[in-house]
């Protein structure tokens, strides 16, 4: 059910990006899709009753070893690391898309994509 929720959120963003006429709305749809995919990837590595992948004092066995209880309860650290990258990159792409929107508004005076059909040199 949690996976289906992520998919529903993704389809909401896709609907917004496909159907809406406003350029900023299209950008918002793409952002919603990014959130849905990030949450889905984190959900794939989740364990019920798991612990965060941070070694505390209670999880040390010896000087450099972690206890087997930690290994058996830890959530997956790999999707967390990669989603961290993805979130930061989404900020960069958001800045680029909004810059395009602002320039288009300055040139054409509207966000409506059906009005931006005529090309000007």
């Amino acid at each position: 059910m949690a996976y289906a929720w992520c998919f529903l959120l993704f389809m909401t963003g896709l609907y917004c990006a496909v159907v809406k006429k406003n350029m900023v709305k299209i950008v918002l749809g793409i952002i919603i899709m990014e959130y849905a995919v990030n949450i889905f990837l984190i959900m794939l590595g989740y364990r019920i009753g798991g612990v965060a992948p941070i070694v505390g004092k209670g999880e040390l066995a010896g000087i450099d070893k972690v206890t087997s209880a930690f290994v058996n309860n830890c959530v997956d650290p790999l999707p967390q690391a990669l989603v961290l990258t993805s979130i930061v990159i989404s900020l960069g792409s958001l800045a680029l898309m909004i810059a395009l929107c602002i320039r288009t508004y300055e040139r054409y005076g509207t966000f409506d994509i059906t009005e931006i059909r005529r090309l000007r040199g």
């Binding site: 059910m1 949690a2 996976y3 929720w5 998919f7 529903l8 909401t12 963003g13 609907y15 917004c16 496909v18 159907v19 809406k20 006429k21 406003n22 900023v24 709305k25 918002l28 749809g29 919603i32 959130y35 990030n38 949450i39 984190i42 959900m43 590595g45 989740y46 364990r47 019920i48 612990v51 965060a52 941070i54 070694v55 450099d64 930690f70 290994v71 959530v75 997956d76 650290p77 790999l78 967390q80 690391a81 989603v83 961290l84 990258t85 979130i87 930061v88 990159i89 960069g92 792409s93 958001l94 800045a95 680029l96 909004i98 810059a99 929107c101 320039r103 509207t110 966000f111 409506d112």
Partner: protein, 185 residues
Amino acid sequence: MELFIFYALMAFVLIAAFIAVETRNLLSAVICVGAIGFGGSLIFLFLKAPDIAMTQIVVEVLGLVILIRATISRDLTFISGDREFFGMVVSVVILFAIFMAGIGIFRQLPDFGTAVYTRTPEAASQTYVSRGLEETGASNIVTSVILDFRAYDTLGEATVLFASIIGATAILRKKAKKLPEDLDE
């Protein structure tokens, strides 16, 4: 109780997404996307990913500033109506078909709460969890993955970020560069 709060957060995020899609006012839509981002940050916290929750809050604040800069002080145009009605109906039908097909695929995944990597004992994540502290000395396993095991990935991330910011500044530049023939006149 914890699970109830988790499901309540998920419902909150979904409602915020619906409002963001359907509202007419652009500023309201932007603020609803901010609500999705902060609710998503809390969901990350429930999914035992504190690093991502912190990053999400920082990125969300910056993204809201950028989005509000784009929408405020424009005329908040109420662009009414969608695209052509026939195209809208067709796209909605196609999206619904994709949704129904995708739901079937999710049944093949393991249930929510059993991590995928526990099925394969040879997965890279097992090595990171069991030997990460020993090999890198970082008590936070996520840090040891992004800064040591997969450091090239972080380097690529910095490159992509740099390129996108260069693109944004080039697009937003007010004065165009003068061409050589303009200089001669």
